[in-house]
Symmetry: C2
Subunit: 410 residues, 2 copies
C-alpha cells in the first residue's frame, strides 16, 4: 500500500488516484477516477482527476524535486508552500480571478485545487488569434487588488514585514535574476538566439553599454525593492481564460518586489501576441482587428490599472505620509516607469534567453520570425532606457506602433 504520510516522492498518475481516494474527501467513495498528467510547465507535475460518473474533477499540482526547465536549476519544493499560501491570500483579495484551493500537503508538496479544464491558456488562445473582451478589466482588477493591498500604503508596516519574511523566495528569484536581468544582456552561453535575429542582438543589445547599465540598475531594484507581494510570473502562460472569465494560476514565484514587475510582464507578453498576429495573420482586416485588440488591451490595462488604483488608494490607504499632496502621483509615476522597464526586460529575455515563447518560436517563416523578434527588441530598448517617459496607456502603444517592423531591419 502506497503511503503519502512519510516521505515525499514524485507521484505517477496511479499514485495520484490513490492519493485522492485515501486523502481527500472531494469525490464520492464509489467514484471511478481517471487521471492524466497534463503539466506543460517547467517546474511541476499537474494531475487532472475526473470522476467518470459525476463528471466532478480536480487538479493535484505537485512540485518536482528539480525544476523541469533545466537540470541546472535546483529548486526546493518549498515553492509549493508559497504557491498555496499565495493562492489563499489572492483568494481573499481577488476570489473571482484565482482557482479555489481544496487542500495543501507539506509532505507530498502538492496543492489540490479547482480544475479549470473548460478554460484555455491565454498564450495558446492568442496563438489562434482569439480575443477576450473583458481581459483588461479582469487583469487590472487582479493587479490593483493584489499589489495595493499588500503594500505599505495599506498594510500595517509590521504585518507587511512579516509577509516579506514569509515570502522570501531565494531559488525562484534567482531564476528571474539570471534569466531576466542578466543573461540576455551579454553573450552568455545559455542564451538561445534565433539565427535571423542574432546580428541585431549582437549590435543593438550586446553592443549597447548604456542599455547594459540600465539593466544593472533595474536588477538591483529587483534585488532590493520590497514594495508589493507579486505574482512573480505573470505572463500569458499563467492566465486561463474563457470568453467571460479569467483565472490567474501558478504564483510559485511570488515574493515582495517592485509592483511594476507583474504589470510589465503581462504587457510584454501581450506584445508577443501582437507581433505573432501581425506577422502570421494573412487577411489584412483580420490582422488589423487582432493587433488593434491587443494594443487596446495594453492601453486599457495601464489606464484601468491607474483608475482603479487611485480609487482603491483613497478608499484603503492607511499610511499617513502617503496622503501628502503629490505622493500618489509620484508613487504611480514610479510604478508605471518600473512597468515599462520590466516590459522591456521580458521582451528581451524571451527573444534572447533560455526560455522562449511559442508566440515567437511558432512563426514558421524565418524572415517573419526575425521581424517579429526585432520589433520586440526595438520596443524593449525604448521601454528600458526611456522608462521614465511612460505614464499613459498610449505611451506604450505608441512605442509599439513606432517600432513595428514590416520586414527585418538589421
Amino acid at each position: 500500500m502506497t503511503t503519502f504520510t512519510e516521505t515525499y516522492f514524485t507521484m505517477t498518475e496511479t499514485d495520484a488516484i490513490t492519493y485522492a481516494k485515501s486523502t481527500l474527501s472531494f469525490f464520492a467513495d464509489d467514484a471511478e477516477l481517471s487521471c492524466n498528467e497534463i503539466g506543460d510547465g517547467n517546474l511541476n507535475y499537474v494531475f487532472r482527476l475526473v470522476d467518470k460518473g459525476s463528471g466532478q474533477s480536480l487538479i493535484i499540482k505537485q512540485a518536482g524535486p528539480v525544476a523541469r526547465i533545466s537540470d541546472e536549476f535546483k529548486v526546493s519544493p518549498d515553492r509549493n508552500r508559497i504557491e498555496h499560501d499565495i493562492l489563499k491570500i489572492q483568494g481573499a483579495l481577488v476570489p473571482d480571478y484565482v482557482p479555489k484551493v481544496y487542500h495543501y500537503d507539506p509532505i507530498m508538496n502538492c496543492t489540490v485545487m479547482e480544475d479549470l479544464s473548460e478554460y484555455t491558456i491565454l498564450r495558446k488562445a492568442f496563438l489562434s488569434h482569439q480575443t477576450f473582451p473583458h481581459l483588461a478589466d479582469h487583469l487590472s482588477t487582479f493587479l490593483v487588488n493584489t499589489l495595493l493591498s499588500t503594500s505599505d500604503l495599506v498594510l500595517g508596516h509590521k504585518e507587511k514585514k512579516e509577509q516579506v519574511k514569509a515570502f522570501i523566495n531565494p531559488e525562484l528569484c534567482e531564476i528571474t535574476e539570471d534569466l531576466v536581468y542578466t543573461e540576455p544582456f551579454y553573450n552568455c552561453a545559455r542564451n538561445d538566439v534565433f539565427e535571423g535575429t542574432l546580428p541585431f542582438v549582437q549590435k543593438e543589445i550586446w553592443g549597447d553599454g548604456s542599455l547594459a547599465l540600465e539593466t544593472a540598475k533595474l536588477k538591483f531594484q529587483f534585488l532590493t525593492k520590497a514594495q508589493s507581494l507579486l505574482h512573480g510570473d505573470f505572463h500569458t502562460g499563467s492566465i486561463f481564460v474563457t470568453k467571460d472569465r479569467t483565472k490567474v494560476i501558478d504564483p510559485e514565484f511570488a515574493f515582495y518586489g517592485p509592483a511594476g514587475y507583474d504589470i510589465g510582464n503581462i504587457i510584454a507578453n501581450l506584445l508577443f501576441a501582437y507581433v505573432n498576429g501581425d506577422q502570421t495573420i494573412e487577411d489584412p482586416p483580420a490582422r488589423e482587428q487582432f493587433t488593434t485588440y491587443i494594443l487596446t488591451t495594453i492601453r486599457d490595462i495601464i489606464e484601468l490599472f491607474k483608475e482603479k488604483f487611485i480609487e482603491a488608494f483613497y478608499d484603503q490607504v492607511t499610511e499617513h505620509v502617503a496622503q501628502y499632496p503629490g505622493f500618489l502621483e509620484y508613487y504611480l509615476a514610479e510604478l508605471i516607469a518600473d512597468t515599462a522597464a520590466v516590459a522591456g526586460l521580458e521582451l528581451s529575455r524571451r527573444v534572447i534567453g533560455l526560455a522562449p515563447v511559442a508566440d515567437l518560436t511558432e512563426i514558421a517563416d524565418p524572415t517573419k520570425r526575425a521581424t517579429a523578434e526585432i520589433t520586440c527588441l526595438r520596443a524593449a530598448k525604448v521601454f528600458i532606457v526611456n522608462r521614465n517617459d511612460f505614464f499613459h496607456g498610449d505611451d506604450f502603444t505608441r512605442v509599439i506602433r513606432e517600432n513595428t517592423c514590416r520586414e527585418a531591419v538589421q
Copy 2:
C-alpha cells in the same frame, strides 16, 4: 535560589552577580563581584560587573520588556537576539570596532560582552569639545566593511535573502518610521519643540508641503529598500571612543535598509556637536578649532567612505552586472544622495521630535539654543530637498557653513 533557565525576568544588580557566578565561566570562582546598572539608553538595562581582586570586568546587557523611551512603544526582547547576531557578524567584518561578545542567553534576553569602561561615549566627549583624530578613518572603515559586504554587490543573493529574513525587525523599525520619518514633519502631539525654535518649525517645516512630500518618498524608501545590513542607530551615543580607539555598540535596530541611513545618521550627529561648539565655546580660536575639526571629520567620512568603498568594491564584488561601466558611480551617487537625505531627517527629528539630543538641550542660553537648532533645520531642508546634488565631502560642509546662523533668524 534564583533560577535563570525558566522564564525571563528583569534582573536587579544582585541578580546580575548571581547570574554571572552561576552561568558564566568568565570570572574566577572566588571573584568578589560588584555590579552597577549603568544604562542610560531607552530600551535596555546595562549591568557592569567588576571583580575587585583581578580588576576583570564585563557587561551584561539585558533587554527590558518595554522600551524605556516611552511606555507607548512596546518592544519585544527579540531585539537582544538581533543585537547578539549582528555583533557576531560585525565581529567578523570589523573586529577592531565592536565589543567582543562572550555569551548570549535567549531566555534572560541578555548578551554578555566586553566592558568598555575606559572608553567615553562620543556624544559626551563632544559636549566637552574633545577631538578624536582617527574618528573619520575608523568610522569610514566600519561603514564600508559592514555596508558593502552585506549587500548584493558582494554577498550571494540567496544568502543575502536569508539574512534579510533573519533581520526583519518590525518593532524597532516602527520606532524609526514614526520618530524619524513621520512625526517631525507635521504638528504631531508627541513632538517636543523648544519654544525659541517653534516659530521656525511652524513656518519652515510644518508649513512646507514640498518638504513633506520629499519626506514621504524617503519613508517609502526606508520601508522598502533592502540594500545593506544596517546598524540602524548609528549616532554619537552608539559610539565609544578613546583618543586612539573606536567601538560601535547597540546594533539592536539592525535590519536591511538603505545603506545611506547609517552614514546620514552619523553626519547629522556630528553636526549637532558642531552647532553645540559653535554656540557654547566662548574662546574664538578654541571654537574655530573644534568646529573645523567637526567639519573636517564630516568631509573625511564622506571622502574616505567613497575611497575605501571603491577599493573594496573592486576587491570583493561578485555580481556580474555591477561590473558594467558606470554602475559603481551610479551606485555611489545614489548612496550619497540617500546619506544627505537621512542627515536631513535626523537633524529635523532631533530638534522637533520625541527624542532630543544633549548637544542641543544642554545649550543653556535660550537664544543660542534656538540659533543652533535653526542652523540644523536650515541645513536639514537643503539635505532633504536637494539630496541629489550631494556627492563630495565638501558638498556637505558647504551647506553647513552656508546655513550656520550667528543668531536666531525666524
